[in-house]
């Protein structure tokens, strides 16, 4: 079963072969490394850039002005801030040029905690990005979604921020269409012999998953859990700790998958049924995207109970396991919150 990293690699290979993507770039994105998280290993169109986020973002924007969709990578989401005004400009360009320059591009970057990345390799940036009009925001939590959403992002025709929950990158995931048993052997570069390695790309069947459509992970009628990215896995682990007769057919887990566009109708439909809403993410709680979500849901279908579980608003996520656990939601915290909100 493909990991998220492998799924992205396969999607990008399809894109360079069939969708006209000629440039996949960023620091260490080309050979020999193929990306800090190996998302771009073996791709013909992958090339290395200077360590310069503004140059990376600007290059993608210039290619977009020429009508060429590219995929660029910022090595960690934490490093995106020195290009924030360029992102603002890119998101505004279609609007401010009367649609003349729509800026098709995909900016992918690993985000989130879960692997003790410390102060500058752990943060979530979706709330900040959601303040930039003109950007779509994608954050998959499984390999199938990672593949299908990447294809849709490339075909979208707009700037898309494709956020990768880095702690899930190498977890065994779901089977892709046509995936061979020996996928790892065929498309993972060996650690000790990358210079002469070439991939043996399997003939997987390409597919897309639409932006703006949530995925119902489990259905239920009593409590809606709305989340995305790494927290989907954390919630699933929390649910396994709760007696199954307490949650079976009662908890509805929604994987939002894209924040812009947002499948608000899908969330509202669920909340109308359950009357209870718990939003979980690992971004800082202050001006969190989940707060916006709470307001939008309340306007359409006021739940009896609704709350947000997010990371503490601190200057950073500390390096030690204790500090990370103190700062971002843990399995135990999520478990307690679910049990608290579920009527007995």
């Amino acid at each position: 079963m493909a990991t998220i990293a492998q799924a992205i690699r396969l999607a990008l290979h399809y894109a360079e072969r069939e969708l006209g993507v000629k440039n996949i770039f960023g620091q260490d994105v080309g050979p020999p490394l193929g990306g800090a998280f190996t998302m771009t290993q073996g791709l013909d169109s992958a090339w290395n850039t200077p360590l310069d986020e503004r140059g990376i973002v600007g290059t993608a924007a210039g290619l977009a002005m020429m009508g060429q969709t590219s995929v660029c990578e910022i090595q960690f989401g934490d490093y995106i801030f020195n290009s924030i005004d360029l992102l603002r400009l890119i998101g505004t360009t279609c609007w401010s040029t009367r649609g003349q320059f729509p800026m098709p591009m995909v900016l992918m970057t690993p985000v989130g905690a879960g692997n003790r990345g410390g102060i500058y390799h752990s943060h979530s940036i979706e709330s900040i990005l959601s303040h930039l009009p003109g950007w779509k925001i994608v954050i998959p939590s499984s390999s199938r979604d990672a593949y299908g959403l990447m294809i849709s992002s490339i075909l979208d025709g707009n700037p898309v921020a494709y956020l990768i929950p880095k702690a899930l990158s190498f977890c065994p995931g779901e089977l892709l269409d046509g995936e061979p048993d020996d996928l790892k052997k065929r498309i993972n570069a060996p650690l000790d012999g990358r210079s002469n390695w070439t991939p043996d790309w399997p003939a997987c069947d390409p597919f897309s998953i639409p932006l703006g459509k949530l995925r119902i992970r489990t259905a239920g009628d009593t409590l809606t859990l709305a989340s995305y990215g790494r927290m989907i896995q954390v919630i699933e682990m929390a649910l396994q700790k709760i007696p199954q007769d307490r949650i079976r057919d009662r908890v509805e887990l929604l994987d939002l998958r894209t924040l812009v566009p947002l499948d608000l109708e899908g969330i509202v439909t669920s909340v109308r049924k359950t009357g209870r809403l718990l939003i979980v993410n690992e971004d800082s709680e202050q001006t969190n995207f989940g707060e916006h979500l709470l307001r939008k849901v309340r306007e359409k279908a006021p739940p009896h109970v609704a709350t947000l579980l997010a990371a503490r608003h601190l200057p950073g996520i500390g390096l030690s396991q204790q500090l990370e656990d103190y700062t971002v939601p843990t399995v135990e915290q999520v478990q307690r919150q679910i049990e608290k909100m579920l009527p007995s």
């Binding site: 503004r54 009508g67 609007w95 040029t97 897309s208």
Partner: protein, 304 residues
């Protein structure tokens, strides 16, 4: 050149009459910009030249085929403004059909956007032309442009143009630059450079012809620094008053004396016409937030 000057004078009047909140533009740069515009290979796509201008570049646009009336439409925030639908400042033109990239109010973004447009032109005969003022080179994106365009084995076909009026809003050049000329910084990256008197049409044309030819044939960056003046200050924020100490490039040229009057009369008629056109409103504000999706391959399965 004369058209561009008359247009800016008209736009300044509109701002002074309270019909628009702001003006900025390029009086003093017309000799250089007109010469540059005449040499652009105008069209859409990588086979043509791609211009990434700044907000003092309107003479380039006029030479590339843009019309003054559209600048008036933008100045007055009309729905008929083809550049920005009444959303942007004066002289923030663009035209995708002519490879005229958008003008950005935050200076210097064109330096890094040009890296992408030039990359798209690697296998074509078109080149990217990036134009900015001297103060824009204070930003880090200027260093990005010099570094990225000269990567070993991967040079980019970019003509880098700095129009140096030796002042950034109110801050003199000499107080911020250790080197007397900006070309000095480009030379450190091994880029071919030249300086030109930006007030002389003949000298500008000769220097630009060489620069265009070099980039077009060598497929490498070339750096041209043009000394220009800033005749009406930074913008209307500083009064847009004529600076008597600044030399006017039009004074060096001879042209029929009736030209100015004829152009001014036509521009005045165009102003009256545009005044009757509807202003941009809330409905138009909601449009063009998103572009259209690309064509979906028919063989691609789509799951929910």
């Amino acid at each position: 050149m004369v058209e561009s000057r008359c247009l800016d004078e008209q736009l300044i009047l509109l701002q002074r009459h309270g019909l628009s909140p702001f003006w900025t533009g390029g009086p003093g740069e017309e000799a250089f910009n007109s010469s540059l515009g005449a040499l652009l290979r105008v069209g859409r796509g990588p086979e043509f030249d791609f211009l990434l201008p700044h907000y003092r570049s309107s003479a380039i646009a006029l030479m590339a085929g843009e019309k003054s009336i559209d600048f008036i439409r933008q100045m007055l925030g009309r729905q008929s403004d083809p550049y920005s639908y009444g959303r942007n400042f004066a002289n923030h033109f663009c035209n995708a059909e002519r490879n005229l990239g958008p003008v950005s109010s935050p200076v210097n973004s064109q330096f890094v956007f040009g890296l992408g447009t030039a990359r798209a032109q690697l296998n074509s005969s078109g080149i990217t032309v990036v134009v900015a003022g001297d103060a824009s080179t204070h930003q880090g994106d200027f260093a990005s442009l010099l570094l990225w365009s000269t990567r070993p084995h991967n040079p980019l076909p970019i003509l880098i143009v700095i129009t140096n009026n030796r002042i950034g809003i109110s801050t003199p050049y000499e107080t911020q630059h250790a080197r007397p000329h900006i070309v000095d910084r480009a030379q450190a990256f091994g880029i071919e450079t030249a300086m030109v008197d930006g007030l002389s049409v003949d000298e500008c044309t000769n220097a630009l012809k060489h620069a265009f030819d070099y980039v077009r044939t060598e497929r490498r960056p070339y750096f041209l620094e043009a000394s220009v003046t800033r005749l009406f200050g930074h913008s209307s924020a500083s009064g847009a008053k004529r600076d008597p100490s600044a030399e006017d490039p039009l004074d060096r040229e001879s042209y029929p004396s009736h030209w100015r009057m004829e152009i001014q009369e036509r521009l005045q008629q165009e102003v009256e016409q545009v005044k009757l056109e509807p202003p941009a409103d809330g409905i138009s504000a909601e449009s063009y937030v998103w572009g259209s999706s690309r064509q979906w391959p028919q063989s691609l399965k789509q799951y929910d």
